[in-house]
Symmetry: D2
Subunit: 160 residues, 4 copies
């Protein structure tokens, strides 16, 4: 029993590594943004985004573009939902699980902009607030390096 | 009366040109995306986005990243709201109007993803559904070159 | 072929009548609000709500409570999504279709309040903007008897 | 200084009592729902809603109507935003403050339905996540008597 649970944990970790690889290294737009993974399991994801000039919306005041905020929060939400889907479906065959993950996608996304995006480095975190066989909902937050809270996000995702 | 109205129209056009310049040419992230302005007045804005590999979320299926969709729809909403604010406040002094535009910002943004972002070129349009002295709300749409409807957006903006 | 289509149309109409009965007559809160059905097929739903004193949020200015607006728009969205689900699944067995409809529910709802809810009578309409086997998205509008546009709504629904 | 602060606190408490009276006792629809105030200051509001048959959406399974959830969360958000506006503007004249509160209203509202609304009694809580001179944003939650989390809400409000 414990052994099986260990096996499942290993399998879940392996799948999650593959998802992380896909989101962080294989998605061209995420590479363009410069996303870096800080922490990733089914309870919590944390993504780091170093500020770059090309990411500015307002270059005079040096404020992060709101679209970058939306992008990184959508990624954080999608990754946490994927991690939960893997844990829930770890007993499925490779083909079934692979198909489920391929069918994932954002249904809708809401961003609440709280403060201007000043900072040298930004951190996006996410947690799941609703899980299901078809739909999951995540809440996301963006803070800067001084822990100033910049934005909230809520995303509804199709999960296979 | 007509003369004055003409003067106001000219002034409004000039301010709108400056706003367009700011959004399309002076915002680094919008340049990175490659946004191009197709049409812009207080009734309607249309922005063109040619597909590029760096904008992909899913490179295997060639699907636009959802964050790019959110970014361009936020820009379209912000621009239409700015054009309306200019028309409403065209009698204000240069300093007052300039201050109002500088204080503009997105309060919240909702994106509804309808279909995968396949296409060679995307078009974002926006219209204002609520105007006020403090807050305006816009609805936005994203279509591809074949007029396939890819996403809806709704944005609430602070207007000075 | 035509005959079969006729059969399916009849079956679809019958199921839709049952859904209308459920929403308008069997849901206690909808009865409390006083909802009346004006039109209902898979393309469009229209629900009428006569103003009553008990529905006021602001009794001094006689403004409809924002929660009533949210309620009727959620009902309109749910009904149009149900009608689409019936059309798509009309070949399913009675048990299967019944189960699907029983599992329907609102995942998330966004209301944009455009103007104060003045009026003697309100009309909610809805259309589907995304259909799928698992999730559907609807857009809704509320107008008063003079066609003044009071609110927009967007709802994401689980569909079986 | 302390004395003045005490005066301001008293004044703020008095205004907040008036707001509570308005929301809970003078709004006909809130009376119809049966809202009761449990706690109210500028940091936190808690509203109680005893279940009643007339509030059901699904009478067979005894599930609270989603419109009731939206209604009570909108009220909780509006009340916390009003309490913050009072604290921020306590030095204004009676006329000014009264005018500001009269101009308050919901701009947009998002509800995330997490679980079916089973329960004998529901509790709505709210906190402010963005305050400003023109716009405030609140996050709300609905739990039942067993602390089961039923819904999240996010509301954007005009504040005078």
């Amino acid at each position: 029993m414990t052994e099986l649970s260990d096996q499942h944990q290993k399998r879940s970790d392996k799948w999650r590594d593959a998802v992380a690889q896909t989101f962080i290294h294989n998605m061209p737009f995420n590479q363009l943004l410069g996303l870096e993974l800080v922490h990733y399991d089914a309870q919590r994801v944390e993504i780091k985004l170093p500020m770059q000039k090309k990411l500015l919306g307002n270059p005079i005041q040096s404020i992060l573009h709101g679209g970058v905020t939306a992008s990184i929060l959508d990624v954080a939400g999608g990754m946490i939902v994927a991690a939960c889907a893997i844990e829930k479906n770890v007993e499925l065959s490779r083909e079934e699980l692979s198909k489920r993950l391929a069918n994932m996608g954002t249904i809708d996304l809401r961003i609440d902009y709280l403060r201007p995006g000043f900072g040298e480095c930004f951190y996006a975190t996410a947690e799941v607030i609703r899980t299901g066989n078809k739909v999951a909902v995540a809440r996301m937050e963006l803070h800067n390096q001084d822990n100033v809270h910049i934005a909230f996000g809520t995303g509804t995702y199709l999960v296979g």
